[in-house]
Structure formats: C-alpha cells, structure tokens
C-alpha cells in the first residue's frame, strides 16, 4: 500500500481547523407511542487531522448522531456547521451538495454498488462532483485503490471482492472527492481482527495525510483506544 499522492484542490496538512461542529442536537425517532427521544441536546466538534471515536451501548444514539453530522438526516432541533457554514437548516439540494463536496462516508456493510467494478465505485462521487477531467478522475481513483492495496483489483466487480477488500474500496470511495470530514459507522464491525486493523490503519493514515477530520462510531474498544479523541454516549447524551 502506498501513500496517497496529493491532488488538485486537496486540503493542506493536518492542522487544527474546525471541520465540523454541532450544538444542542435533538432527534426523535418513531411515531406515536413508539416515538423515542434519541438525541437529547448533543454538542460535538471535530478538527481536521484528528480521529474521533464515538462509543457507547447499542441504541444510545451514536449512529443517529453520525447521520445527522453527515447531513443524511435532519435534526428536530439544534445546529450543524460544516467548515464554518450552518447546514442543518438548508434545503435538500444544498445539503446534498455539501455531502458531495465535504463529507465522505464509510458504512458497516460496505454499501458498494455491486454492478460496478472497484474503480467505477471510486469514480462514482467524482463523476457527480465533476471537478476533475475524466482522465484525472481515473488516475485519482486508481491511485486511491493503489493506496488501499487494491491496485491489482481495480477492474474487479464488487461482488468479486472479499469483505475486507470491499471495505477498503469503500474507504477509497469516501476519500475520492477529498472531503474534509470522513464519517465511519462501525467500519470494522463486519470484519475479522486482521482486516479490522488494516481498515483502521488505512482510515487514520490516509485521513491524516489528507488533513481530514475522521469521526467513527465503534463498539470495538481496541479501535477506540487508538483514536485521538474518545467520546462516550449514553441515553442520547455524551457522558
């Protein structure tokens, strides 16, 4: 696996710039009698070049917070800032654009698009953003796959890759648009120990090289211990 070459428009080296901030986030899920107050006034900050672990028991609101931070969901109350810009109250179009430009996601179950090759999966966010030429996109996608150790498997369909390899493709895809924030929901939750370590190493190394804020939700205490900051949640609040 090689280091990721810098690309046009890439963020600078790791610094202390605030990439993500949320204040007093509230979120209810469910309806009627089943309605649950999942997040009860959560505030959080993430700086570039830092790796944050959010830990806590199942159902405490970790993933809900992550989806709110990634603008995949809307808070009932509170505010989310992405690179200094309040995004929580914006319309769907602006929030989608912000996701494409500033946020990369890695999910527990990889969520690769199975009809596409590893290379095409990585190209997908770049093609939407359209910042690079087609040749530059392909070169960047290939170098990202090289960086995650899949340089030999760029043209394999997602279905022809192992779980660990799929997760590495997902990391390469999350980094494709040079986001300032990388959000990972149990990125090692579905992997064996060897692959868990490999994926965590990759995530943190590439993110630090690119100066990204990494926020990961995990149940794995070993993984959490290796992060720069650990935030513990219980019953919808940080403790």
């Amino acid at each position: 696996m090689s280091a990721l070459p810098p690309s046009p428009g890439a963020a600078g080296p790791a610094g202390t710039t605030l990439a993500l901030r949320c204040r007093n986030l509230h979120r209810h899920l469910g309806q009627g009698e089943g309605r649950v107050h999942v997040l009860k006034g959560v505030s959080f900050e993430a700086e570039r070049g830092q790796v944050y672990a959010i830990v806590g028991p199942s159902g405490c609101g970790k993933s809900t917070l992550l989806y709110l931070l990634g603008l995949l969901d809307r808070p009932d109350d509170g505010e989310i800032e992405i690179n200094g810009r309040v995004m929580s109250n914006h319309d769907d179009w602006a929030r989608t654009a912000a996701r494409g430009e500033h946020i990369g996601f890695v999910f527990q179950f990889h969520f690769l698009m199975l009809e596409f090759t590893a290379l095409e999966n990585v190209l997908m966010p770049m093609r939407k953003l359209g910042r690079l030429s087609p040749e530059a996109m392909k070169a960047r996608a290939a170098s990202l796959l090289e960086a995650v150790g899949l340089g030999e498997k760029t043209h394999r369909l997602a279905t022809q890759l192992s779980g660990g390899e799929q997760q590495r493709v997902a990391i390469a895809r999350a980094l494709a648009n040079q986001p300032t924030i990388l959000l990972a929901d149990e990125p090692t939750g579905n992997l064996d120990v060897k692959n868990s370590n490999l994926v965590f190493e990759l995530l943190t190394r590439l993110a630090k090289e690119q100066g990204q804020a990494v926020v990961l939700v995990t149940h794995n205490p070993e993984i959490a211990q290796r992060c720069d900051v650990i935030r513990r949640m219980r019953d919808g609040v940080f403790v």
Binding site: L29, Y67, L72, D92, R99, F111, M124, R127
Partner: protein, 413 residues
C-alpha cells in the same frame, strides 16, 4: 455517457430477466399498435380509393330553388321538385357546361364530368336484366374516376372509336353472358338501341358491377330523350380530404346540392370508425400492459436498490439524479423497445399483407390489405413513450423521495 445514464444502464442490465420482460412488452405494444393501425386503415383507405374511383370526390346534383319565379321557370320538361331539410330542389343540372366551367375555377378540382343517368333494361341473347345506363364523355370521365384502370377485358380505345360501344360491369356481363364484342339491346320508355360490348370493367363494388353500363353521352341523351342537362356532375379533387370544405363552398357559390364523398359514404365510414375505435382499445390495452411491465420492473429495482440509492445520495447525488437514473432505465427500454417494436411491427404488417383473403362486395381484393404510413410508427412510439414514462414516473419519484438516513438506519418505507 452521463453518470446517471451509466448507473441506469448497469442497474437495468443487472436485472436481465425483468428487463427482458419489460422490453418484450414494449416491443409487443409498439409492434401490435403498428400492425392494427396498418390493417385497419388499410381496408379503410382501400375502400375510400374504390369509392373515389367509382363516384369521384364530389357530386353536384339538384339545383337549389331560390325563388317562386325560378320554380315556375323550371316547371316544364322532365324536371321534378323535391324538398329536403327545408330547402327545395329542382332535380338535375340544367346547364352542365356552365356549371362545369365554374367548378373548374376551384383550385382543388382535378376534373369534372357531366353524367346523364337512366334506368334501362339490357337484353342479351341469353336473358334480360335491369340496369342503369350512364352517359359520359369518356375523356372527362376518366379524369374523375378510375374507369381506365378498372377495365378487365376489352379495350377502352374500341369504346372511344365506336359510337355504339358500351362499357359493361363485370357482374352484369356475367349474368347476361356477354363477352367483349357481343351486342345487346338497351331499352327504356319504348326506345331502344343495339350496342356492343367494347370492354368489361370491374370496380370491386358489387352493386356497381351488377348494374352499371357506360355509353357515350350523345347515345344516352338520344335514348332517354334528354337533349340537354345532366343528372349530376362528378368531380375529382387533388386532395379528396378537403371535399367537405370544397363542397360547402361550391354549394354556396353554385346554388346546387353538392355532396362530398364523406357524406355520401358516411355509413361505411362510420363502420370503419367503429372498427378503428375497437382496435384503438385493443392497442391501448397492449401499451397499458407494456407500461405496467415497466412499472413493475422499476418498482422492483427501486425496492432492491434502496441501499444503492442511499449510497448515491450520501455521495452527493441529488433527488433529481435518482429520478433520472430510473427514468433513464425506462428510456433505455423504450428506445430499444421502440426500434425492435417498429421492426417487429413492419415485419408482421408485411406478413399480414401476404395473407390470402378474398373480399368482393364493397371492394375487391384477394389478400389482406395493409398500409405503410410513417404516422403509424410515430404514433405507436409516442403512445409507448407517454404510457411507459408516466408508469415509470411513480417508482422514479418514490426512489427520489427515499431519505438516505432512513435507508441506512433500516427504517425506509
């Protein structure tokens, strides 16, 4: 290739069986639309051509009575009064030559022929039959009918050269056992003429072929003792579709009853219209099935691709991108289905055109009649586009409405 089109193509090709079903339904919808249109309008157009070839596009007959004085002036001779729709008519055309000159000034008029008609009895060596005799000037009449093309035996030239030559309908000739060159007697009101068969014609319209005999105009005038006037004027048009408008203007200007072929043949045209509606319903069902198949395929893909939708949305793909991805899928099926459906429709239309089908009554044919019109293909494709795209819009919009947060949480509805 745009990212959305690329994704649509992959989604679709990954569901080969469902895509094949949608494609088959679209091909069938487009193809059968074309075939039904080609066959329905084939018979209608052939009937129209037959009718125009016999009776022309417009017929001018009775004069409209304007005043009491004109009624009195027209009181003598063979003229009769009739009253239709509150308007009085004097039967026949009194001054055909002047009227013909006036008719020729209409830009859409291709030809006009004065016809004197009378009921007669035809006696051959074998038997006697009732018939209708038509006195025409051949050169005028072949410009307003397909008489020249309807000759099945004998020569038109012989008729042209022989003052006592006759053109006899095929059915009448068979009944009287007349052949080209045979002579027969035409009789009416105590007068009779011996003429000979110059040629036998067949229009395919049985009533015409059973009763009609064409003689030279002078011969009929003499036989019917009608030295002037005409029973009607037969008119052919460059654009027969405009006959109602031209007929209306002619009636206003010429003050005669003027009937376009659409009014004359309205019973048969109504039958064809009913047939068209009936096949239209069938065709609509075909395209409805095609659109339902497309709806089903897309709805299935939306259900199976919710996680992919969430991924796309998380990567910055907008709601309209998701809509486009699914509409593109419908578009791809439509494009392929339209091309194959048009080829399929053309092939089946050709095959149907080869099917033997002897018909003799309102027209004569020995095989299935089809028409080849670009409009049928365009209409079939346009119908498929509307139906399939409308059916695709629902699953496409549903896909776009999915909230990525709900999907990754597993609570998407």
């Amino acid at each position: 290739m745009s990212p959305n089109l690329r994704i649509a193509y992959r989604f679709l090709t990954a569901k080969k069986r469902a895509m094949f079903m949608s494609l088959s339904c679209t091909v069938l919808g487009v193809g059968l639309f074309i075939v039904t249109q080609a066959t329905t309008s084939g018979f209608e157009q052939f009937f129209t051509k037959t009718i125009l070839g016999i009776n022309g596009a417009i017929r001018i007959e009775d004069k409209i009575q304007d005043t009491m004085r004109s009624m009195a002036a027209a009181g003598g001779g063979d003229s009769h009064f009739s009253r239709r729709d509150g308007v009085k008519y004097i039967e026949g055309v009194e001054e055909p030559q002047a009227l013909m000159e006036a008719v020729r000034t209409f830009s859409n008029v291709r030809g006009v022929s004065a016809v004197v008609r009378g009921n007669v009895q035809i006696t051959s060596a074998f038997k006697t039959e009732d018939a209708q005799v038509f006195g025409v000037r051949l050169e005028d009449h072949i410009r307003v009918s397909d008489l020249a093309e309807q000759i099945t035996s004998g020569e038109l030239e012989d008729y042209r050269q022989s003052p006592n030559g006759a053109l006899v309908g095929r059915v009448l000739a068979d009944r009287l056992q007349l052949a080209v060159g045979d002579s027969f007697v035409v009789a009416t009101r105590g007068a009779s003429r011996r003429v000979h068969v110059s040629a036998i014609f067949e229009t395919g319209y049985r009533e015409v072929d059973k009763t009609n005999v064409y003689l030279h105009l002078a011969e009929v005038r003499s036989l019917l003792k009608r030295p002037s006037g005409a029973t009607y004027l037969q008119i052919s048009l460059f654009d027969p579709g405009r006959a109602p408008e031209d007929a209306f203007r002619m009636e206003q200007v010429l003050r005669h009853s003027v009937k376009p072929w659409q009014e004359r043949e309205k019973t048969w045209l109504a039958v064809f219209r009913a047939l068209r509606i009936s096949t239209g319903i069938t065709v609509t069902v075909f395209t409805l099935i095609a659109s339902l198949a497309m709806f089903n395929t897309l709805a299935m893909i939306v259900l199976e691709k919710t996680k992919d939708i969430a991924i796309l949305r998380s990567m910055g793909y907008e709601r309209r991108d998701i809509t486009q991805v699914f509409l593109w899928q419908a578009g791809i099926v439509l494009a392929i289905g339209a091309v194959i459906g048009a080829i399929f429709g053309a092939a089946v239309t050709w095959l149907v055109g080869q099917v033997p089908l002897p018909i003799n009554g309102i027209f004569k044919t020995d095989h299935f009649i089809v028409t080849w019109e670009l409009n049928h293909y365009l209409a079939a494709i346009a119908t498929a586009v509307v139906m399939v795209m409308v059916a695709s819009l629902i699953p496409a919009r549903r896909a776009a409405r999915l909230e990525p947060g709900d999907i990754v949480r597993g609570t998407a509805q």
